[in-house]
Structure formats: C-alpha cells, structure tokens
C-alpha cells in the first residue's frame, strides 16, 4: 500500500494507506486510549474511548476504525476529547464495583489507568449497582460481570484467535453478559462452565479484572512480584513466558505465568501450559534432598557431599573395571543446551562411552541429514505467522504445538496465508485449510513416495487420487512454501518429503517435536552415533580435541537390552523417565547402578540407587532450541532450597570422578598466558578456546559452574550454532540452521526408528505434567465435559 501523509496533533506523519489511525498514532508514539481495540482481531468500535477530532467531520470519530487518508488533520487530546473520555469512564464506572484494592487486575488495569488519567474517579453516581455473583467457568477461567466493561475482546480472542468459540454475549443492553458455552442448566453442578482449550487468552486480552485466572487469583499483587522472562518448558514451540516470582522462606516461588510484554517469539500468544503449568515446581512430593539406597533397599536422605562422593566413586570404579561401554547415559528433552552438551561430553570424555541417547520425539537426525548442504531452507517459528503458504503434513499443532497453531490461524486470518493440510486425522487446523487431504491411516509413507514421484503410491495414501493430484499441483504452484512436518514422518519418508520440497523454489522446512529442548537435545548430540551438530563420530576434525570413542554406542532401546542381559553396569539418567516411556521392566535394571537426576520419584527414579534432586527449566539459566531451531535464553525465576541444576550436578560428579575439569569446561583466566599448554589433550596443542575467545573479544568464564562457559564452546564447535551473542543477550530469539556435513553420514534407510511421540494432550505434559495440580484439575474438568458437542475442539491425535 502506498504511504499517505496526514497530521496528528500538529505533527506531519506518514503511514501506509489503510492503516487505522490508532495504529498509525501508536507507531509514532502517540497513544490513543482504547478498551475494545486489540490488534489482529475484529474491530468493535464499542468503547468509544479512542475518539479523536478529525477536521471536516461533524462528530468525534473513533481512531480504531478510521483508516488514515491523505491530508487528514487529527487532534487526539483536546478539552473536548478529554471530556468525552472522562464521561465515558464515568458512565462505565456507574455500574462498576471499583474494588481495585482486591481486584486481581489492580495495578495492571487499563480502566484504572484511564480513570486516573482523565480524572473520572470522583463519582456522582447515586444509584444501586447491578450485582451478579462471580462465576467459576473452569479451573482456569473466572468471570466477574460487575467488573466487565463489555469490550468483547475475550469473545474475539476465543473465536477468531483460538477458533474455539466458547464465549458469547447474551441478553442485551445493560443486562448484557459474557456467557460461556455450557449454560448452568446443562451442567451437572448447575453452574455455567466453559468447555474449551483453557488457553487463558481471553484473560490475557481482558483489559480489566473481569476475567481472572484460577491459578493467580488473590495470591499477590503485581507490584509484589519480580517478573522474569524465560521460555516455556512444555512444548517444542518455545514461547516466551514471563514468570511472576515472590520470595518465600525457602527460595522464591513462581506465582504467575503470563505473556507480559508480548515481545517474544510467540507475540500475543501463550497457551494454557505456558501460562499456568509452572506449578509442578511447588508440588509437595518434590524431592529436596539427595537419596541413596541402603543395603536394606531403603532410600535414605544424605548430604550432597555424600551423594556426589558415592556416585563419583561408583562410576569411576565401574568404568575402570567394566569399561565405559558398560555404562549408559540418558539425557533430557527439557534441560538446557549447555546441560545436554555437557552431558554428552561427560559421557564421551569422562565415562568413555557413546551409549547416550534421549527420548526422541521427532527424527531430527534424518531432518538434518536430508537438508545437508542446503542453506536457508529451515523455517523459524516466526515464519509460520507470515509465510504466504504453508503445507502441514502430519502432526496436530493445535494440541502438540499450540503456538504454531495460533500463528497459522493468525496468518490465514490476517495475512491471507494459504494453508494445505495432509493428515490421517481430521485435525482442527483443517478448518483454516484451503485444502485438506484426508490421508489413509498410516498413509504418510505413501504420500511421501507419491510426492517423490512414485505415482503408484498415491492410491495407498488416499482414496481419491484426483484430489491428491490437485493437492500436489496446488503445492507445486506455491512459491516460498513453508513445509511443516509432523513426527509421523521419519527416516526415508522424511527424506523423500524433504527431497520433494527441495525441488520447490524457496520452500522451507520445520519438523515439530514435543518439548522445550527436544530439538536442542538432538542438536547437542545426545545421540549414540552422532556428535553435536550431527557430526559423525568417525573421521571428524571438529571435535578432535575430545577423546571420543570412535564406534557408535547403544541407543535408548539397546541400553535397556544390555541391562536385561546384565551388560549394563551403570545407568545415568538426567531429566528423563524412560522406564515409563518405554515400558521398561524394572527387574531388568536390578544389576545396574542407576543414578537419576530428577524433581520427582518417577517410575525411573524409584529404581535408582542414587537420586539427585534437580532444578527445573524455570530454576536455571542457559539456552534452549525450539522445534524450528530458534535459540533462546532461559532465565532463573524460581529458586528452591535443596535442589541443584543438572549442570552443577554433572560438574560435581565429573569432579568426584577425578576428571580434568578444565578439559571438561573451558573456564578460568590465566589459560591464555601459556596458550593452553596446560590444557588440551594432545600435548603442545594451543588452547583453541582461549584463542577463539580472544578473537571474538570475549572474556573467559570464571567458574566451572557457569553454563555460559559451555555456551562459548557450543558456539565455537557445534556446526550451525554460530550465534550472535548480542541478540541472545538482549532476550531475542535467533534462528539457527542445522549444518550436518554431507559426507560420512549414517545411512538413513538402515537407521532404526527411535522416535516416540509424546502424545500429550492440551492438558498433559509428559511425566512433568503429572505433577502440575493445574493440569490435573483440567484433566478432571475435561472428564466432566457434557456429552453433547458444544465445542469443536478435537481430542488429542493418536
């Protein structure tokens, strides 16, 4: 759109034609008050707060609905306008309870701010106010009609934004109310309820305290909290969430999660889990003391020193007697990149084993290898919001990656993006799709073959092959297609699909996985056959400074098979619950020395000989990489006495094992003077790390417990992780591309499929989620769902 020139408050401004005045003003630092306007959802023009004076117009006009036009002359703050706004506020306050001191929104309320600004507080209202009881619509959503100013943001947020349509407006005039989709008389407890995705977006959009969240209600006041921006631990989207933290007797407690400044990769969005499912940290069953199994089989609390001594001694002994190959290591989808990297380095260089794996929720190895040698072919989460066309094959982002789903819906709605969906289930996003291809069960492999040119495979993929042809042709006609792939596609199927996509000019790819650092875990080399950055074990020069066993190690399944055979002397599990995930027979571990770092006595932890209480992602710093390869920093919000970060625990164990700490973690000053003569496995080799730091104008980190020392090494060594520090430190996300080298790859075809999708629903989050009271409440709430199809949400895809 061409730019138009106009004048606001005497300032000459320009903006693209069609821009609404309110936005044009905002861009230029002129704040026009608004209750009902919210960017990206439909216009309401209901609150009348944004009135401005436009020359040649008889009445005041609403800035939220008026597009700028050439030569327009606008006043946004005159006595007339101030009076109009003041009167509107006075009218609003007539029926408003003005209970700010006890309202959850107090201190963050747009109505309160406006009332103050326009001096509307002195009330001459002498009539009785309408009263209605507050309603609990769900464990998450509470509604208080007297506080509601009927701006209708919540309705649009739920309908247009979430595509749930669980909220409506009922009655009319001053009796109007926001109504949820389950009316009182249709609910077992005779109270109205909302049957929905419980995302909390309606609460977020509410400018006042009419919608409040069950988790935060009356707990504290905004100004009594510290706000820490970090990354959600739950799915692979990696949304930025701001945690409200309050001091307690034994640390600091997270009392609220929200999308405070909407500055993150997720823009306006945050789902239920990112917003509310932080409460696992406060679960009363949390372990806060190291536990060591006694000869009588009981677990006994011990001091940290005793525990580390014990683990260090035992692991060293087993390595020295039975060899590194007898030890298995399992890493996590939810620890930081630094922890994952350190764990694999510890396994390979200290334990001397390649027997390392993690619970894979998508096949990133095939993904990286299929894209080897290509640049600019991977998409960021941000691209899902703006891509002109998206092909979604498999997956169900609404449930697995709600942020992705939000972006896709917003893209289709506001940017006219075209969505193509191929899925064996009727996933909810088909409603936004320009074209939906309903695949036969397990039809993904056939579809990939068809796309790759095998015409005969078409009939295996779908019944109606004409539809398939049309679908393929439509995709081929798209320039800059974003191909979003579900975990159903793995190995050679994934490669076929990507190979097909690579023939389309400008096509980009992303593979959806399940947890905050699923992608990071793979990128960081928690794999038996690949080093960080999908670097082959054999013949690599990048990690030559490591002393790594050359032969591939055991994968997740093989590790437990070895245990079964009695060949596994020790198993070191960090933030994972394989016993439950993979249905491991507890008896198979009876002859293995098991060390588990976790928050809870999980199915795996209860089998352990030593349990080390761990901090979670909200209690540490470092970085994580989302499904798309977007790297972000996490920050420490909560703090719990008695727990330690996985990073620290690995370092301590390595130390107790007598490892060379400077080799494991590049820390400490003074290394530069001798150019690393004191460091480096091959004698005489310069301290590459110190040289690199110097070249990059960076200071060495001073402590072996500083995860940033490892981040430095990641940046230096891991292909694809050539990050921009400044970006990262200013809290921005940055997109990284996997840089698997194209030679010496493991054959994709012969690789074992180790992907086990998490199959989480909107209200589960693996083992961790079981310890969230809020998520349990929501699952219970779901079970009360009335049998009628009042909403359109789908159950989780299998």
């Amino acid at each position: 759109m061409p730019d138009v020139k106009f004048t606001v408050d005497g300032k000459q401004l320009t903006a693209p034609a069609g821009t609404f005045l309110i936005e044009a003003c905002k861009t230029n630092g002129i704040e026009v008050p608004a209750f009902c306007y919210y960017p990206g959802i439909s216009l309401k023009a209901a609150c009348r707060m944004c009135v401005v004076r436009i020359e040649k117009m008889p009445k005041l006009q609403t800035a939220c609905t008026t597009p700028v036009s050439e030569g327009m002359v606008v006043q946004t703050e005159t006595p007339e306008i101030a009076q109009a706004r003041k009167a509107t506020l006075q009218l609003l306050l007539g029926n408003h309870p003005l209970d700010c001191p006890v309202c959850d929104a107090g201190g963050e309320c747009e109505l309160q701010d406006m009332t103050f600004k326009y001096g509307a507080a002195e009330s001459f209202y002498a009539e009785p106010k309408h009263h209605r009881e507050e309603q609990k619509w769900s464990p998450v959503v509470y509604y208080d009609r007297p506080r509601c100013i009927l701006c209708y943001r919540c309705i649009s947020m739920c309908g247009e934004g979430m595509d749930v349509f669980a909220l409506g407006i009922q009655a009319r005039g001053s009796s109007s109310v926001i109504a949820p989709n389950v009316p009182a008389q249709m609910s077992p407890d005779d109270l109205a309820h909302v049957d929905c995705e419980q995302c909390g977006m309606c609460i977020d959009a509410c400018p006042v305290g009419a919608l409040t969240s069950g988790t935060y209600r009356y707990k504290t006041r905004p100004w009594e909290m510290n706000h820490v921006s970090t990354v959600c631990t739950h799915c692979g989207d990696g949304c930025k969430t701001t945690l409200g933290v309050r001091s307690t007797s034994d640390g600091s407690e997270i009392v609220r999660g929200d999308n405070r400044d909407k500055s993150g990769i997720n823009n306006d969005f945050l789902c239920n889990k990112g917003r509310y499912a932080f409460d696992f940290a406060n679960n009363e069953t949390r372990i806060t003391q190291p536990l060591v199994r006694q000869p009588n089989g009981e677990l006994k609390p011990v001091s940290w020193e005793t525990a580390f001594d014990h683990v260090g001694k035992k692991l060293r002994e087993l390595r020295d007697t039975r060899g590194g190959k007898s030890i298995g290591v399992i890493g996590s989808n939810r620890t930081t990149n630094e922890e994952a990297y350190l764990l694999q380095k510890f396994a390979r260089t200290v334990l001397g084993t390649n027997n390392i794996d993690h619970h894979r929720t998508a096949d990133y190895v095939s993904f990286a290898q299929s894209l080897a040698g290509n640049t600019d072919r991977t998409a960021s989460l941000r691209d899902t919001l703006t891509a002109s066309a998206i092909l979604l094959v498999g997956g169900d982002p609404t449930i697995q990656a709600p942020g992705t789903a939000w972006n896709i819906r917003t893209n289709v709605r506001n940017h006219r993006g075209r969505l193509y969906v191929a899925n064996s289930a009727e996933i909810k996003l088909r409603r936004q799709a320009k074209s939906f291809l309903h695949l036969a069960p397990f039809g993904y492999s056939a579809l990939a073959s068809y796309f790759a040119g095998d015409a005969a495979a078409g009939s295996e993929a779908v019944g109606d092959t004409d539809a398939l042809t049309t679908f393929r042709e439509a995709i081929k006609a798209e320039e800059n297609l974003l191909i979003l792939i579900g975990s159903e596609l793995r190995g050679k199927d994934l490669k076929k699909l990507i190979d097909f996509g690579l023939t389309l000019p400008g096509a980009k790819f992303a593979l959806i996985s399940d947890y905050a650092n699923s992608r990071g875990a793979a990128d960081m080399g928690l794999l038996p056959d690949l080093l960080p950055g999908y670097t082959p074990l054999a013949g690599n020069t990048t990690f030559a400074e490591y002393n790594t066993p050359a032969a591939p190690g055991l994968d997740m399944i093989e590790i437990f098979e070895a245990a079964e055979r009695g060949d596994l002397s020790a198993l070191y599990v960090v933030g994972s619950n394989p016993v439950s995930r993979y249905g491991i027979d507890p008896a198979s571990l009876k002859d293995t020395f098991v060390v588990v770092q976790d928050m809870f006595l999980t199915e795996t932890a209860v089998l352990a000989d030593v349990i080390l209480p761990a901090a979670n992602l909200y209690e540490k710093s470092g970085s994580v990489t989302n499904s798309y390869g977007d790297l972000q920093l996490v920050s420490k919000a909560g703090d719990r006495a008695g727990v330690r970060t996985d990073f620290e625990m690995i370092v301590r164990i390595a130390d107790k094992m007598g490892a060379n700490m400077r080799e494991l973690i590049p820390f400490g000053k003074g290394t530069r003077a001798d150019m690393g003569q004191s460091r480096g496995v091959h004698s005489g080799e310069a301290d590459r790390h110190a040289v690199w730091l110097a070249a990059n104008n960076m200071e060495p980190k001073l402590s072996p417990f500083d995860p940033f020392a490892i981040l430095d090494e990641i940046q230096r060594l891991v292909p694809g992780y050539n990050l921009l520090r400044l970006q990262l430190l200013s809290g921005n996300d940055q997109h990284l591309q996997p840089a698997a080298s194209s030679n010496g790859l493991v054959q994709i075809g012969s690789r074992r499929d180790l992907v086990l999708p998490a199959n989480d629903t909107l209200f589960t989050s693996g083992t961790l989620g079981r310890y969230s009271t809020m998520l349990s409440d929501l699952q219970h709430n779901e079970s009360l769902r009335p049998p009628t199809g009042l909403t359109q949400i789908q159950p989780a895809a299998d």
């Binding site: 349509f165 409506g168 009922q170 009319r172 109504a179 989709n181 249709m186």
Partner: protein, 169 residues
C-alpha cells in the same frame, strides 16, 4: 443436512423448517424465524429446541443462545396458553395503558412475566407494539386488541376462557 431424524417438532413444522433453511442466500438467516415458530409450537425455546435448531442450521448451541437472548419476544420458560402483552409506552400510557395493565394484573392475579396457575394466561408489560393511534392496545398472542377499557378487557378474557380466542398456531 436440514432433514433431522427424530425431530422434536410436528411433521408440518419440521417440513417448514426443512424448506426455510434453503430459501436464503445463507442458512443462518432462518435462525430468528425458526426460533419464533418453534416457540409458537413448543411454548418456549427449550434446550431441545436450541439443540435441534443449532443442528439444522449448523451452528453452535452457544450461537443460538446468544441470538435468542437478544430478542424480547423469545423466552426460555413456558408461558400461559394466552400471553397477554400490555403496551405501556407513551401513546398507550397517555390513554390508559397503565390502567389496563393494573386491571389485567388484578383480574388475572399475576404480575409481569407471570402465568396463572391454570396455565391459561400469562401477562407481560411490553414496549410499543405499533398500535399507538388506537391506544391503549394489547396483544394476546399475536392478536391485537385496541382502544381498550377495563370493561373491554373483561369481555376479552371471557372470550378467551370460553375458547373463542385464537391459539398461537
């Protein structure tokens, strides 16, 4: 889609609804008339009516409730067989509308939006019904009665009691 198995409506009304959804450029246009016609037959807009109409049009029940609660003629509770609607708006008020309302209350022994215990009459005070020049006016179900006096109201009530008044249908 329009034809519903196990409809709760009479065959005539069901057939009428089958057709109604097809005549407009968009099915949803049939919503308001359907609610009113369903109310005429069922007596009020029950949850079952809402469910069937939502299904017929392809809407969420919530949508139907949102719309239904907007219109003052639609009710979600049963009313009497003869719903007496007394206009008290300005033209009627000037010519005795409130007197008529009081008379009805007194005569029927019920108040605004109440129903006689025998279920024959219900009473409602309503806004202008478009009979201002023949005030005071009332509607009993859909029939207008104007230029009223309390005496004329008595005659009317007797007529309805005697079964000479028109049913809604």
């Amino acid at each position: 889609m329009s034809e519903i198995a196990n409809t709760i409506f009479s065959p005539e009304l069901a057939a009428r609804f089958d057709k109604l959804v097809t005549i407009y450029p968009l099915r949803r246009s049939a919503l308001v008339p359907m609610l009113l016609y369903a109310q005429d037959e069922v007596g009020y807009v029950s949850d079952a009516v809402i469910a069937e109409i939502a299904e017929r049009i392809g809407l969420l029940e919530l949508d139907v409730r949102n719309v239904l609660s907007y219109y003052s003629m639609l009710r979600t509770k049963p009313a009497g067989k003869y719903n007496v609607q007394v206009c008290t708006n300005i033209s009627c008020m000037l010519r005795g509308g409130y007197e008529i309302l009081d008379h009805c209350k007194h005569k029927l022994g019920i108040g605004h939006k109440e129903t006689t215990s025998d279920g024959v009459f219900s009473l409602e005070e309503v806004e202008c019904i478009g009979a201002c020049c023949w005030a005071p006016a009332i509607q009993i179900n859909y029939d207008f009665h104007d230029d009223l006096t309390p005496e004329k109201v008595d005659v009317l009530f007797q007529m309805y009691r005697d079964g000479q008044g028109k049913d809604v249908k």
